[in-house]
Structures are given as C-alpha cells and as structure tokens.
Symmetry: C2
Subunit: 194 residues, 2 copies
C-alpha cells in the first residue's frame, strides 16, 4: 500500500466534486465506543452549498444502528489500492466481530464528527444526518449534511480530481457486483461554450 | 458516431447494475406533445427488486415540469461518443427552445412510458415516479420505479458491463464539472471469498 499522505481540507462548496463521479464509498460510524465500516455504492451528492449527500444503508446492518444512534457518518472514497478491503467491508458484518480488524482497514480521527475516517482513501466527507424518518424507514435512504471534507492532494486539488499523472493505485473505484469494479479512467474535456 | 445498435432488454432484477457504477445520465421526459432532455449526474439506484432509482432535478427546469406532469422519466446512459452533446444537455434550457434540436441528440420510443430514450447511449431505464412530495419539494429528489431497462449488447451482457474489448467510444462517462468527465476505466476483480 502507498504510504499515508496528509489529507488537505476541501472547501465545503466544492465537496460535491469528491462524489460527483459516482465512486464506491466506505461508510464509517461510531457510537459509545463502538465503531464500524461498510461499503456502499449507493451514495451521491444531493446539494451544493451547504453540501448534502444521500446514502442507502440497509436496516440489517450495524452501520445503520450506529448511524441512527449517533446522527453521524463519514464517507471515505477508497482508492484502487484498497479494492480487496472494500470487498470485505461489503461482505462481512460488523455484528459478527470488529470490522476494522476483519477487513484490515485502518482509520484516523475526523475533525467534526466522532466517526473515524478510513486510511488509504483519497477523499473524505464528514456528515451529520438530517433526520427524514420516512426516507429512512421506507427506503433506507439517509440524507447527510457535509460538515467537513478532505482529499489526498496527490489526486485532488483546486477542486478537481487529477488522476492522470498520479500513482495508478490512487484512482477511485466504481463498484459493479460480485467483487468486480471499474476503475476511474481517463479524464476528457469538452468545451461547454460549444 | 458509432452506428445505432439495437438495445436488448435487461431483466428488472439486474437493472441496478446499469447505474451502480455512478455514470452521468440523460433524463428525458414527455408530456402532451412536449419533450425534453437534460443531463444529471445525481442519479443512483435505490433498490434492487423491484428496482428503484433516485434522481435530483432542479425546480427551475422544463424537465422538472414534464416529470411532474407526466409522472414518468427515462434515464439514458450516454457513452463517450456523446460527451459534447451531454455538456449541451446540461447547460442549455428546454424552456428556450427544442433541446433535442439544440443538443443534436436523437431519440427513439420507450416501451412502457411516453418519454423517449436517447439514441447513441448504452443503457436505458424507463421509470415511473413514486410520488414523495416532501422529497420533491424540499430536496428536488425524485424516486422512480424502473419498469423497463435496456442495454447495448456490445458493452453490457449477462448482467455486466464489459467495456474492456469494446469500442472506446462506447464507455460510459462520469461527470466532474465545467465540461470535464472521467471515462469509465479498466475492469478489475477481487475474490470476494477472500
């Protein structure tokens, strides 16, 4: 694994850029000394400023319990170097033992919330839940306001992902199913004044 | 542009696979003889079976008017060959003139809904809105049940995207901002029994 690199803050108005391209996420949570991490593909921005996100988290999960108990969660955006750990985070249950140990994922403290952030990732969104009981009960859908955001400056700077000249292991991932991912690929630009 | 290719049906239980990797979408709509198309990055699966999706559509748009009037929308997944048209679909307004003409995008009839599907795309989801007035008003968030799904068999078969040996112009796109996209990249597999 690439050595850890210090995350730099992303201005909140640019936080949606971290998630805009639809990467897989790791949802981390903590409450009263218990902490967990799970994989979630169904996460996306909901608003620009103040930034909000939505994420789908099933009722059966420990993550769900800790989210509801704490009112918080973090989304970490794993890079290719963590693909094997992401699959474990998506298939094991935190109810059956410490998921950090089971996945081999490491973490570090967030700034604004109790949930930790996942080490080796390239973007991080600290979120406080905006309670919407019907969405949560009916659709397993949670809305979070992003209260802090961070990125690995090797692949995100000036409000943009810049993967093209970086270490290939730092590219974000898009989940398909059954252990299959599509890696974030080539950057292209189209003149939007066209 | 690559010549049109006949879409093949995707079983509804596999429809989420089209959208799971977080590609940019084109939202198309129709009502009483009026039709429109716009770009939306904020779309994702919400449930497997019956499949549901969520999409964020701003109140100011013609697409929003036609969605609310018809109760339907389609999500088409544009390939790289349509990147310039996607940017136009995201920056022009259907209120100022026929967006199909303005973008140069062509369309063809859906099977279950009145909204047309966008030609030159590689995946299509026909959706009926599940009315959730609070989400729509408060968050511009719409929930749709997927009632039919289609894919271009050159890049999606047996329930999976298979881009690696296909024409590069058929890869899906992930939107960043300001005319910048990240193309869907390399496929990788991790053994999930690990």
């Amino acid at each position: 694994m690439t050595a850890a690199f210090a995350p730099v803050p992303v201005p909140l108005a640019k936080a949606y850029r971290l998630l805009n391209h639809g990467p897989v996420t790791l949802v981390s949570t903590a409450h009263e000394g218990r902490s967990n991490v799970m994989a979630a593909s169904w996460a996306m921005p909901l608003d620009f400023d103040p930034p909000k996100v939505v994420v789908v988290v099933d009722k059966s999960t420990l993550t769900r319990q800790l989210m509801e108990a704490s009112g918080e969660f973090a989304l970490s955006l794993p890079a290719r170097q963590l693909a094997a750990e992401v699959v474990k985070a998506g298939s094991l249950s935190g109810k059956e033992g410490d998921k950090w140990i089971a996945t081999g994922l490491d973490n570090f403290p967030a700034e604004k919330i109790a949930a930790p952030l996942v080490a080796g990732c390239v973007g991080w969104l600290e979120c406080r839940i905006i309670e919407e009981p019907r969405n949560q009960q009916q659709y397993d859908l949670f809305i979070g306001e992003v209260v802090a955001a961070w990125a690995d400056p090797r692949v995100f700077h000036d409000g943009h992902w810049v993967f093209d000249h970086a270490d290939e292991r730092l590219r974000t991932l898009h989940y398909v199913a059954g252990g299959n991912f599509l890696v974030t690929g080539e950057a292209i630009h189209v003149d939007d004044a066209a």
